[in-house]
C-alpha cells in the first residue's frame, strides 16, 4: 500500500503498464474514427493495434502475479480535495484480483476486435463502431483497475454508455435487426434494446451509488484499501444503527445485480443481442456483465471482516443475498435457455445462468469462515473460463448468423457439413460450458459446486442441490442449441441458401480468434489435470493462494469444511448424464419429437408457455415501469398540468381579473390594465402580510 508524494510523471514511469492499459484504448477510441476519414484499412489496423496495446500493457502485470509481489495501491494525483476529509485521488489498485480480471478483459477484447474486422467488413458506420468498442474496453479496464469507488463509477457508467451505443448500433431500426418474436411474441428494435439496457442497469447503478455514499458518510473515504484497513472502526460505527448494515449490503449488491444481469434486473441482457454479434461477445464474455462479479469480489473482504472478524451478524446479509440470488438466477435463466428459439438468446440466458454460478460461489464464500478463499477462487476461476468459452460461443454464433441470415434456430440445421470449422469450434466451447471434462468449464464449475458443498450450512447445501440441477439443464440446452444449429435436417432456409450457393465457411480472420479461445479452454483443462498430480499446477490452488492475499489486514482461514474429493465430480457426472440423455433423445438423436411431446401433455405445455414467456417477468416490468409511467405522465399532463394548473392559474386568474376590470371600468374609465391590477393586488397581499408580521407582533 504505497501512498506517494512522487510527481505524477514518476508514478506513470514507475508503473506504465497498468496506466497505459486503460488509457491507450480510450485514446484509440478518439483517434481511430479520425483515421477512418483517411483510410478504412488504416482505421481497422489502428483499432487492432490499440486493442493489442491494451493486451501488452496488461501483460506487464503478469510477472507481479506470478512472483507474488505486486505494487498495490498506486496513486497519481489528487482529483477532488475535500475540506474536511482525505482527498479523492486518481489511483490504481494493482493486486491479484485486478491483474487477473484486467488480463482476461484485455485479451478477449483484443480477439473480438480482430474478429470484428472480418464481421463488420463493409459496414458504413464503422468509425462509430470502433469508437464505442475501444471506449468500452478502456472503461472496463479502468473499472477493474481503479483503487476507489468514484473512478470505478466512471468506468462503470462508461461501460453502460458504450453498451447503449453498441446494442443500439443499428439505430435506423431496420426490421432485419429487430430481436424477439416471432410474432405474437413482441419484437424490439435495436434502439429500444439499447435504451432498455441503459435504464435497467441504471436502476442498479443508483442503488450502488446509495451504498457508496452511505459507506462514505461513515468511513470518510472512497479508497478500497483504506476502506478495508479501517473497516473495524467504521463498520462498528455504521452497524450502530440497526438494519443499516443489511441495507448497505443489499444496496451495494444492486449495482452488480444490474450490470451482471441477475434477478430481478436480468431482463435487459436477452435483448442486448440486438447489437452486432461481436458486441454481444464483448458484453457477455469480456466486459460489462463481468463488472458486477468483479465488484462483488472487490468489496466482499469488507463484509467478510464485518461478519467473521467483528462478529456483525448483519454483514452476512451480503453473502446470503448474493448466494441466493446467484443460485436462483442460474436456475431461472437456464430454464429459459431450454426453450429459446433464437440462437443468441439461448446463449444470452446461458450467460445469465453462468454469471449466477459465479455470484453463488462468491456468496457461499462468506457463509463459512474457512471457505472464503475457496469460494472467491472458484468464482474468479469460473469468470475466466466462462469468458473464454462464452466469447467463443458468441463469435461462432456470429459466423452462423452471418451465413444463414436469420436469428431463429428453426431457420438453421444441418450446418455441420457446410461450416465444419465453426461447428468444431462451437462444439468445444459448448462442451466446456456444459462442464464436460477435461475442458476448463468442468474444473471451474466443479470448483463452484465444491465451494457450495464445503460451506456446510443448510442454506449452502440447498443451493448446492439447485446448482447441480442447473448443471443438468445446462448440458441439455447446450445439446439443444448445437443440435438445432449443426445437426439434423437442413431447414427450408438452409436449403434455399444452399441452392443459391450463398452458404460458406467463415473467413480465417473470423475463425482464428475463436480457435485461440478454444485452445485456451483446452489448455486450462489440461493444466488442471496436471493439478491433480501436483497441486502446484492446479489453477484453483494458484488462484486461492494469490487471492487470499488481497483481502488485506486480517488473517483468513484457508481450510474450513471438507467434502470427499470424489463427491462433486460424481454428482455433477450424474447430472450430466441426466441432461445429456434428455438432450440426446430430444434433439441430437431425435428419438422423441420435442414439439409433439410438449403438446401431448398439458403440464409440459404449461411449463413451456411459462418459460417461453420468460416467467412473465419481462411483461410485468413493461406493464409497471413502461406502460405505467407512460400513462401516468399522460394523465398528469392532461388532468393536472394543463387542466388545473395552467388553465386555472395562467388563464383563469387573469380572466377573473379581466372580469373585475370590466366591472371597474364602469366606475373608473382609466387605463388600468389587467397586469397592473394584478401587481397592485400582489403588493396589497404582501403589505397586509407585512402588517400581520410586524404590527401584529408575531
Amino acid at each position: 500500500m504505497m501512498t506517494q508524494v512522487a510527481s505524477p510523471m514518476d508514478v506513470l514511469l514507475a508503473y506504465p503498464g497498468p496506466w497505459l492499459c486503460w488509457i491507450l484504448p480510450i485514446i484509440g477510441a478518439l483517434i481511430t474514427p479520425l483515421i477512418g476519414r483517411v483510410s478504412r484499412r488504416a482505421m481497422n489496423l489502428s483499432a487492432v493495434l490499440f486493442a493489442l496495446s491494451a493486451v501488452l500493457s496488461a501483460s506487464t502485470m503478469i510477472p507481479w502475479l506470478l512472483n507474488g509481489r505486486w505494487p498495490g495501491d498506486v496513486r497519481l494525483m489528487r482529483w477532488v480535495v475535500f475540506p474536511d476529509r482525505p482527498p479523492l485521488e486518481v489511483g490504481l489498485l494493482i493486486d491479484p484480483l485486478s491483474i487477473i480480471v484486467a488480463n482476461v478483459v484485455a485479451l478477449i477484447s483484443f480477439l473480438i476486435v480482430v474478429y470484428s474486422v472480418g464481421y463488420m467488413h463493409g459496414d458504413p458506420c464503422l468509425p462509430r463502431y470502433w469508437f464505442f468498442f475501444l471506449f468500452f474496453i478502456g472503461n472496463m479496464l479502468l473499472l477493474v483497475l481503479s483503487d476507489n469507488f468514484i473512478m470505478l463509477l466512471v468506468g462503470w457508467e462508461g461501460v453502460g454508455l458504450c453498451s447503449w451505443g453498441l446494442i443500439g448500433y443499428y439505430y435506423r431500426d431496420e426490421k432485419e435487426y429487430w430481436v424477439g418474436g416471432p410474432p405474437p411474441t413482441p419484437m424490439y428494435s435495436p434502439s429500444h434494446c439499447g435504451m432498455k439496457a441503459f435504464i435497467v442497469t441504471g436502476f442498479g447503478d443508483v442503488l450502488l451509488l446509495a451504498a457508496i455514499f452511505i459507506v462514505y458518510h461513515y468511513a470518510g473515504t472512497f479508497n478500497f484499501m483504506e476502506l478495508i484497513a479501517s473497516s473495524s472502526s467504521w463498520l462498528r460505527y455504521l452497524s450502530a444503527t440497526p438494519g443499516l448494515l443489511s441495507l448497505t449490503a443489499l444496496l451495494m449488491l444492486g449495482g452488480p445485480i444490474g450490470k451482471s444481469a441477475q434477478f430481478p434486473l436480468h431482463e435487459w441482457l436477452p435483448e442486448a443481442m440486438a447489437g452486432p454479434t461481436p458486441v454481444s461477445a464483448l458484453i457477455h464474455a469480456a466486459t460489462m456483465v463481468k463488472a458486477g462479479v468483479y465488484l462483488v469480489a472487490r468489496v466482499s473482504p469488507i463484509f467478510y471482516i464485518g461478519y467473521w472478524g467483528l462478529g456483525l451478524s448483519e454483514a452476512s446479509t451480503f453473502f446470503i443475498a448474493i448466494a441466493v440470488i446467484g443460485c436462483f438466477t442460474a436456475f431461472l435463466a437456464a430454464s429459459q435457455a431450454m426453450v429459446s428459439l433464437e440462437l443468441k438468446k439461448a446463449l444470452a440466458y446461458s450467460t445469465i445462468s453462468q454469471i449466477g454460478y459465479m455470484m453463488l460461489a462468491l456468496g457461499v464464500s462468506g457463509l463459512n469462515e474457512g471457505v472464503y478463499t475457496a469460494g472467491l477462487a472458484a468464482g474468479i476461476f469460473h469468470l475466466i473460463s466462462h469468458a473464454l468459452f462464452k466469447a467463443s460461443l458468441f463469435l461462432c454464433a456470429g459466423c452462423v448468423l452471418h451465413a444463414v441470415e436469420s436469428i431463429y434456430m428453426s431457420d438453421m440445421g444441418g450446418l455441420r457439413r457446410v461450416m465444419p470449422i465453426t461447428h468444431a469450434l462451437m462444439l468445444i466451447a459448448a462442451l466446456s460450458l456444459s462442464g464436460i471434462p477435461p475442458l476448463s468449464g468442468f474444473w471451474s464449475k466443479d470448483a463452484v459446486l465444491h465451494s457450495c458443498l464445503i460451506a456446510g450450512t443448510p442454506l449452502s447445501t440447498a443451493l448446492f442441490i439447485v446448482a447441480a440441477i442447473t448443471a443438468a439443464m445446462t448440458f441439455f440446452y447446450s445439446i439443444r442449441f448445437i443440435s438445432l444449429t449443426f445437426y439434423g435436417e437442413p431447414s427450408e432456409n438452409i436449403e434455399e441458401k444452399l441452392e443459391e450457393g450463398h452458404l460458406h465457411e467463415a473467413p480465417a480472420i473470423m475463425w482464428t480468434p475463436i480457435a485461440i479461445l478454444d485452445i485456451l479452454v483446452i489448455l486450462i483443462g489440461l493444466i488442471a489435470i496436471l493439478g491433480l498430480i501436483s497441486p502446484a499446477w492446479s489453477p484453483e490452488h494458484f488462484l486461492e493462494e494469490r487471492l487470499s492475499h488481497s483481502i488485506g489486514p486480517i488473517e483468513v482461514m484457508t481450510h474450513g469444511g471438507e467434502a470427499p474429493a470424489i463427491m462433486v465430480p460424481s454428482i455433477s457426472g450424474a447430472m450430466l448424464l441426466i441432461g445429456g440423455v434428455a438432450g440426446y433423445l430430444l434433439y441430437l438423436g431425435r428419438k422423441v419429437d420435442a414439439r409433439r411431446l410438449v403438446e401431448s401433455s398439458p403440464l409440459l405445455r404449461g411449463i413451456y408457455t411459462f418459460l417461453w414467456n420468460r416467467w412473465y417477468i419481462n411483461s410485468l416490468y413493461y406493464l409497471i415501469f413502461v406502460d405505467g409511467i407512460l400513462s401516468l405522465k399522460d394523465a398528469l399532463y392532461r388532468w393536472l398540468e394543463s387542466a388545473v394548473l395552467d388553465r386555472g392559474l395562467n388563464y383563469g386568474v387573469p380572466r377573473l381579473f379581466k372580469g373585475l376590470y370590466h366591472e371597474l371600468k364602469r366606475v373608473q374609465t382609466g387605463v388600468l390594465s389587467v397586469n397592473i391590477l394584478y401587481l397592485i393586488i400582489a403588493y396589497l397581499v404582501i403589505f397586509i402580510s407585512l402588517l400581520y408580521l410586524f404590527a401584529g407582533g408575531v
Binding site: 475535500f82 434502439s191 441503459f198 442503488l207 462514505y216 443499516l244 405522465k633
Partner: protein, 499 residues
C-alpha cells in the same frame, strides 16, 4: 490586479458597449453579434484571472460609497461561491451571442420578412448585453438592495426580448413570465425590507444577525418563495414551460441554464450560510419539494411533443436536483448543487441551442415530425448526446462530478441520521433513473429510427451555430476530467458549513 478593478470592469464594459453595439447593428445588421462578443470575451478573461485566488478561498471585493445615510455601499464581490456562477453566465452569454448571429437573423427575417429593419438587430443585441449585465450584477452584489435592483434589471430586458422576438403568443407569454417572476421578486423584497427593519442594514453580513430573531422563519420563508419562483419548482413553475418554449431560443439558452440557477445560488448566499439553524427547519419541506419537482418535471418532459417544451420541463426537473443539493444541508451537497448549476448550464445551453438549430434547419420543433436525423445531422446528434449526458451525469462530463456530489451530500447531511432518512434518500435516488429515461428517449425519437418524411435534404447548422456548442461540450468534458477547477472554489467557500 486589484488596481484594475476587474469586477467593476466586468459590470461597466458590457454596459458601455451597449450603445456601441446598438449603433453598429443599425449600420451593419446581424454581424453585431460578433461585436457584442468582444466585451464579453474580455470580461471572461478578467474572470479567469480571478479564478486562482478564488480557489484558495480569497474574496475579491470592490466597494463604493452609495448611500451613506443608511450605511449602504455599492459592492462587487467574487469569491469561491460566486466565481463559477459568473464564469458560467459570462461564457454562455459569449457563446450565445455568436450563435445568435445566424439564429436571430433567421428569426428577424421570419418576423419582418425580406427587408428587416436594422433596429431589430440593434435592440436585440443591446437588450442582450443589458440582460447579461443584470445577471452578473445580481451574482456580484454584496447587499440586499443592490441584489434586488439587479435582479429586476435582468427581468426587464429578458421580458422585452421574449416580447419582441419570441414565438407563438409571445406578448401573453412575456407578460406571464414578467408577472410570475416579478411577484416572486416582490415577495423577496418583503424579506429584504424586513431584514432592514430588524437589523438596520442591507448588507449580506446582517443576515446572520436575524438568525436568532423570532421573525427569522418568516423572512426565510419570504426569501425562499421569491427564489423558488425564479427556480420554478413545482407549483411555482407555471410561467416556465410557455416562457422557455416561446422565447427566442438563444435567450432560452440563457434563461434556463444561467438565470433560473441564480436562485439556488442566492438561497445558499442568503439563507444556508448565514442562517443555517433556521434553514434546518425548512429542510424536510425542501427535500420533498425538490423530489416532487424532479419527478414531475421528468414525467412532464416525457409527455411533450415540442422539443423546447420538453427541454423546459427537463430544466424544471434539473432544478429539482439542484434544490435537492441545496436542501441536503451538507458541504458536499451544497457544493454539488452549485457545481450542477455549472454542468446544467453547459448541457442545457447546448440542448436549447440544438433545438434552435433544428428550428433553423427544419422549421418545426415537433418531435413527431422528426426521426432518423442522426444520418443527416451527425454533429447535431453528437452534441445532443453530449448535452444529455452532461445533464444526466454520465462520465466523463462535468455532470457526473456534480451529480455524485449532490447524491453524496444527501447521504452526508441530516437525512443520514436514521434508517428512515437513508431509505428515503435511496428512494429519491431511485427516482433519478427517470432523467436517463427522458434523455435517451428524446434522442431516440429525434435522431434514431427511419428518416422522417421531408427531411432528406436537412443538414447540420452553419459553423457559427455549431462552433459555440462544440466549445461548450469540450469544456464540459474538461471540467469533468479535472473537477478541482470548480470544486476547490466551492469547498473553500462552503467549508464553514461543516455538518
Amino acid at each position: 490586479m486589484s488596481q484594475l478593478y476587474p469586477l467593476t470592469q466586468i459590470l461597466i464594459i458590457p454596459l458601455a458597449a451597449t450603445p456601441v453595439v446598438y449603433l453598429y447593428a443599425r449600420k451593419m445588421g446581424r454581424s453585431a453579434g460578433y461585436v457584442a462578443a468582444i466585451p464579453l470575451a474580455y470580461t471572461l478573461l478578467l474572470l479567469l484571472t480571478l479564478l486562482p485566488e478564488a480557489a484558495k478561498g480569497v474574496k475579491h471585493l470592490e466597494s463604493y460609497t452609495w448611500a451613506p445615510s443608511i450605511g449602504l455601499t455599492f459592492g462587487l464581490l467574487a469569491d469561491g461561491l460566486s466565481i463559477w456562477m459568473m464564469i458560467t453566465i459570462n461564457l454562455l452569454a459569449l457563446l450565445m451571442s455568436i450563435y445568435s448571429v445566424r439564429y436571430i437573423d433567421h428569426r428577424v427575417k421570419e418576423l419582418f420578412g425580406g427587408e428587416s429593419p436594422s433596429t431589430a438587430y440593434a435592440s436585440y443585441y443591446a437588450l442582450y448585453l443589458l440582460y447579461e449585465v443584470g445577471m452578473m450584477g445580481t451574482v456580484m452584489s454584496t447587499n440586499l438592495i443592490q441584489f434586488y435592483l439587479f435582479y429586476e434589471l435582468m427581468l426587464v430586458p429578458s421580458w422585452l426580448l421574449i416580447n419582441n422576438y419570441g414565438y407563438g403568443d409571445r406578448e401573453r407569454v412575456g407578460l406571464l413570465y414578467f408577472l410570475w417572476t416579478h411577484v416572486g421578486a416582490v415577495i423577496l423584497l418583503v424579506g429584504i425590507l424586513s431584514t432592514y427593519w430588524i437589523t438596520g442594514s442591507f448588507e449580506f453580513s446582517a443576515l446572520s444577525l436575524i438568525a436568532a430573531k423570532p421573525q427569522a422563519p418568516f423572512i426565510v420563508a419570504a426569501f425562499l418563495i421569491g427564489f423558488l419562483t425564479k427556480m420554478a419548482v413545482f407549483g411555482l413553475h407555471l410561467w416556465l414551460p410557455d416562457t422557455y418554449t416561446q422565447a427566442p431560443t438563444s435567450i432560452t439558452a440563457l434563461l434556463s441554464p444561467a438565470m433560473s440557477g441564480i436562485a439556488p445560488y442566492a438561497i445558499v448566499r442568503f439563507i444556508v450560510v448565514p442562517m443555517y439553524p433556521v434553514y434546518q427547519r425548512f429542510q424536510p419541506i425542501l427535500v420533498a419539494w425538490a423530489l416532487i419537482t424532479l419527478i414531475y418535471g421528468g414525467l412532464m418532459s416525457l409527455a411533450q411533443d415540442d422539443v423546447k417544451r420538453y427541454l423546459a420541463y427537463s430544466s424544471m426537473s434539473q432544478m429539482g436536483y439542484i434544490l435537492l443539493g441545496v436542501a441536503s444541508m451538507s458541504t458536499l451537497g451544497t457544493s454539488g448543487a452549485i457545481f450542477h448549476y455549472v454542468s446544467h448550464g453547459f448541457g442545457k445551453c447546448i440542448l436549447f441551442a440544438v433545438a434552435g438549430a433544428l428550428l433553423y434547419r427544419i422549421g418545426t420543433l415537433s418531435i413527431s415530425r422528426m426521426g432518423g436525423l442522426a444520418d443527416r445531422m451527425p454533429v447535431t446528434a453528437t452534441l445532443t448526446l453530449l448535452g444529455i449526458f452532461t445533464i444526466a451525469g454520465v462520465p466523463p462530463t462535468s455532470g457526473f462530478m456534480s451529480k455524485w456530489m449532490i447524491f453524496a451530500g444527501v447521504f452526508d447531511g441530516p437525512l443520514s441520521t436514521s434508517l428512515m432518512g437513508i431509505s428515503a434518500a435511496t428512494v429519491i435516488l431511485l427516482m433519478t433513473v427517470i432523467t436517463i429515461a427522458y434523455g435517451l428517449w428524446i434522442v431516440k425519437r429525434i435522431f434514431f429510427g427511419p428518416l422522417a418524411e421531408g427531411l432528406e435534404m436537412v443538414e447540420d447548422p452553419p459553423a457559427s451555430m455549431e462552433a459555440p456548442l462544440i466549445i461548450l461540450a469540450v469544456i464540459a468534458i474538461l471540467v469533468g476530467l479535472y473537477p478541482r477547477i470548480v470544486s476547490d472554489c466551492l469547498f473553500s467557500a462552503l467549508s464553514a458549513l461543516h455538518v
